[in-house]
């Protein structure tokens, strides 16, 4: 707890690691005037959008897995395997795989996003399979007897019952996307070309430990914390709104 308070304090200073002098809210005004900051934030926006894919594909796959075809447990274990592998190793292999894509700003970002989706795919699939396993089989039976099509069953029974699990997967994927991709980016692209794949967390590292601009990095650290917190709260509100609608 103490370090976050320290971060908040230092976010108002021009700290260089040895000495800090008080600047005040000026640090935040400078931050919002910095065009690089907005460029970096745009990359985080890309990550946010890719989360929808990182949830949708596992949702479909989990539904297929719960049909319990031959060897489904084996498939589940295989999909989950990347969870145990470090981002450094994943980045190392992805770098060869996306070799030709890493020189353009947009294509490099796409390569990072695809690697990210691949890596969290198994974790989210397992979360959804666990969620689907908690459902009552008799509900499905009843729906089938009523003559509901598979699509309708998924839309009106599976999705609402899975809500808690979708929310949970969203939050963990968001936290991964915004705070755990440092190693992947470090190995795969180094944040480049230019600021093409620099996300907020990577920018913090660069500012602090490459440039020595600790005060600026602390300001960014506070912004990152606020963003993750705000999105988490927003999605909770959003889901609550839906509940009222359906009920």
């Amino acid at each position: 707890m103490i370090p976050i308070l320290q971060t908040i304090y230092y976010s108002f200073t021009n700290w260089n690691g040895f000495s800090a002098s008080w600047v005040g809210v000026g640090t935040y005004i400078n931050l919002f005037r910095d065009s690089v900051f907005w460029r970096v934030l745009l990359n985080n926006g890309g990550l946010l959008i890719s989360i929808s894919v990182a949830l949708f594909l596992p949702l479909v796959t989990a539904f297929l897995l719960t049909q319990r075809v031959f060897a489904w447990r084996f498939f589940r274990s295989v999909y989950f395997l990347p969870t145990a592998v470090s981002w450094v190793v994943i980045g190392m292999v992805a770098m060869r795989f996306f070799n030709g894509m890493l020189s353009g700003e947009i294509s490099a970002l796409i390569a990072v996003l695809l690697t990210f989706i691949w890596s969290v795919f198994g974790t989210n699939t397992v979360i959804f399979v666990t969620g689907m396993a908690t459902m009552d089989e008799s509900l499905y039976e009843a729906a089938r007897i009523d003559g509901a099509a598979t699509f309708q069953v998924v839309r009106h029974i599976t999705i609402p019952l899975l809500k808690r699990f979708i929310q949970f997967a969203f939050i963990t994927t968001l936290i991964t996307a915004f705070t755990a991709l440092f190693s992947l980016i470090f190995v795969m692209t180094g944040g480049g070309p230019g600021y093409g794949t620099t996300t907020l967390e990577f920018f913090i590292y660069q500012q602090a430990f490459t440039i020595g601009n600790f005060g600026y990095a602390a300001t960014l650290g506070v912004v990152l914390f606020v963003i993750v917190f705000a999105i988490s709260i927003a999605q909770m509100r959003l889901f609550k709104g839906n509940e009222g609608e359906e009920g």
């Binding site: 489904w72 295989v78 795919f121």
Partner: protein, 272 residues
């Protein structure tokens, strides 16, 4: 064309789709293994296999030392986290005292703080204590990062145990510390297993903390060693792949043996 026939076709199609996904998930592993058993020339010509890259890895790079360093840091952090989380879980789940819920809330909100937001002051704090390039420093940071979630997990687990157990033990004249060591600890083994697996993967695979707090080569972990090779623009891909495999192996083995506990840990947060 009966219902059963259609159903069978659907199941075959599902199997095919799942197999294709499995290939996508496994291909990088195949690439790593296949490439590591080639020399650089063999990699370029895509013909033949040999052990030369593996030998180069162990002869030219301090892989053994780095694996040992990783093991020390990982074990140390896990031990500390286990001590903190079992005691914390016991205190939050089974003991009554003023301000308990408030303290628990503070711990929980600790889970929401991104590592990048606190890593800088943490670095300066430990530098002031001259704990940079010291295993203890890194272990403390990992424990601080993994502690809140582990304590939360342990509290959730212990709350599930019946309170009568506590009351009966108190009646039998057991003191609170005795109840902890004789009753709570043995019962919390499954939750401890979950914490060990989650934290093993977390700490073993980490780059940022290890890179900042263990900089000198003598204390460098395997994950950092690998990233350093990459950053030094080493272009011998087969050796890099062999290094990747050896660094990934311990966490993958832990995963293969304790998969069940990992799944429990990952989905524990949903049950609220």
């Amino acid at each position: 064309m009966g219902f059963a026939y259609k159903r069978r076709i659907a199941r075959v199609l599902i199997f095919i789709v799942l197999s294709i996904v499995a290939v996508v998930m496994l291909y990088p592993f195949y690439f790593m293994i296949n490439t590591s058993f080639r020399s650089f020339q063999q990699y370029q010509s895509k013909i033949g296999h040999s052990l030369s890259s593996w030998m180069a890895l162990f002869q030219n790079l301090p892989v053994g030392r780095e694996l040992l360093n990783s093991a020390i840091v990982t074990m140390g952090a896990i031990a500390l986290i286990l001590i903190v989380s079992t005691m914390g879980g016991y205190a939050f789940a089974k003991l009554q005292y003023k301000g308990r819920n408030a303290i628990f809330l503070v711990i929980i909100s600790g889970m929401m703080i991104p590592m990048q937001s606190i890593i800088i002051p943490e670095y300066v704090n430990l530098a002031n204590l001259s704990l940079i390039n010291n295993f203890l420093g890194a272990i403390l940071v990992y424990a601080a990062l993994g502690g809140p979630f582990s304590t939360f997990l342990m509290t959730t687990y212990l709350r599930g145990l019946p309170n009568e157990l506590m009351e009966a033990s108190l009646m039998d004249g057991l003191s609170y510390p005795k109840i902890f060591t004789r009753i709570i600890l043995p019962l919390s083994l499954p939750a401890m297993a979950t914490i060990v697996v989650l934290q093993f993967i977390q700490v073993w695979d980490d780059l940022l903390v290890a890179m900042l707090f263990l900089q000198s080569p003598s204390v460098r972990t395997i994950t950092v060693g690998l990233a350093t090779l990459q950053a030094s623009r080493m272009t011998n891909i087969p050796v890099l792949m062999a290094g990747s495999l050896i660094s990934a192996l311990p966490a993958v083995l832990v995963y293969l043996f304790f998969q069940k506990y990992l799944v429990t840990g990952l989905t524990m947060g949903v049950q609220k």
